[in-house]
Symmetry: C2
Subunit: 197 residues, 2 copies
């Protein structure tokens, strides 16, 4: 990637990104202020501009980083259902990244690093979907893929926005989602999916 040398601050870019994730996770992207981040890092109000161009640039960097982590998380999971679980787990563990990733209006769409990371994530997603329990359903594979994506994305989104607090209760969200995935693609179909937790 890029070599971030240690200069005046140490690693301002990384510090700003870390603070940004904090703020976003707590109060959403709308609460993000470049000047506030600068204050937290102990630098002048204009320092962040040099690293991220503008506010949207910072959010673009967050999204790009998120897509990278996301692709890794998906690649580590074996099987369609476990990829769905990984999708949900990623949203729960990286709420700030997740929120920004799926809001294009917050990003510079042509940023090369964003485009590259997004392509990698899209590929990982498609790879997971193509490993379907088979066209036993007699319908278009693509539609089943959209269904799987929608289920995981909807569950993750509702979870993050707090809408599932009541219905899910104390239960582990990932475990709940595993059941949901089973409803969409019953394991009895063709699934031998040897589980290794």
């Amino acid at each position: 990637m890029n070599s971030e040398r240690v200069y005046h601050h140490g690693d301002l870019r990384r510090a700003l990104l870390a603070s940004a994730l904090d703020v976003i996770a707590t109060d959403g992207p709308g609460a993000l202020s470049l000047r506030d981040l600068a204050r937290r890092a102990g630098v002048s109000h204009a320092a962040p501009t040099h690293h991220f161009k503008d506010r949207t640039g910072l959010l673009t960097a967050v999204a790009a980083e998120g897509y990278g982590l996301f692709a890794d998380a998906l690649a580590d999971a074996a099987g369609l259902r476990e990829r769905g679980v990984a999708y949900v787990r990623f949203a729960a563990e990286h709420p700030a990244h997740f929120q920004v990733m799926f809001r294009p209006e917050l990003q510079h769409p042509d940023d090369p690093r964003l485009v590259a990371a997004k392509a990698r994530a899209t590929e990982a997603l498609r790879a997971g979907i193509s490993g379907l329990p088979g066209t036993a359903r007699g319908d278009d594979d693509r539609l089943a893929g959209i269904a799987a994506w929608s289920l995981a994305h909807g569950f993750a989104t509702l979870l993050l926005s707090g809408n599932l607090d009541a219905p899910v209760g104390d239960r582990d969200p990932e475990e709940v989602f595993r059941v949901l995935a089973g409803l969409l693609f019953p394991p009895d179909a063709a699934a031998t999916t040897p589980e290794s937790s």
Copy 2:
């Protein structure tokens, strides 16, 4: 500027809400500015404050209106699957409302009108879900409800954010969703579209 400015606008509140929906649908809630709305309506920069208290108050009003329309839309649909379709249709037809509704950090959570409208929508949602094809699935009804909600919400969200443009193509999104809903709850199970409620 505006020479023919009448002191009383007529229905400023409605005009502001309408402009707000325009802006939100185009550039998202983050692009909303009270002063810009005032300018569009031809009133002073502080006029909106009287109707909505503050920026969050305006968004709260949008969310409340949205929940009301949403409850109506759900109530008009018969059957679980058609309620899901109505869910998706609502998001497509009222993107601004939909976006704000599911972002609690943009709202005043204790606003009475919001609370009331939200309760009505929640009830409509639950009513739709309880009319499930039966516990033939042998699993918790509640989980099936979460699955249905997640599927519809995920599809709607991905649709609005433009992520489904490629996979869906020219096809009517509502029709596509009808197929997805069929994957989750196969019509052959125990249901020949039961219910009217």
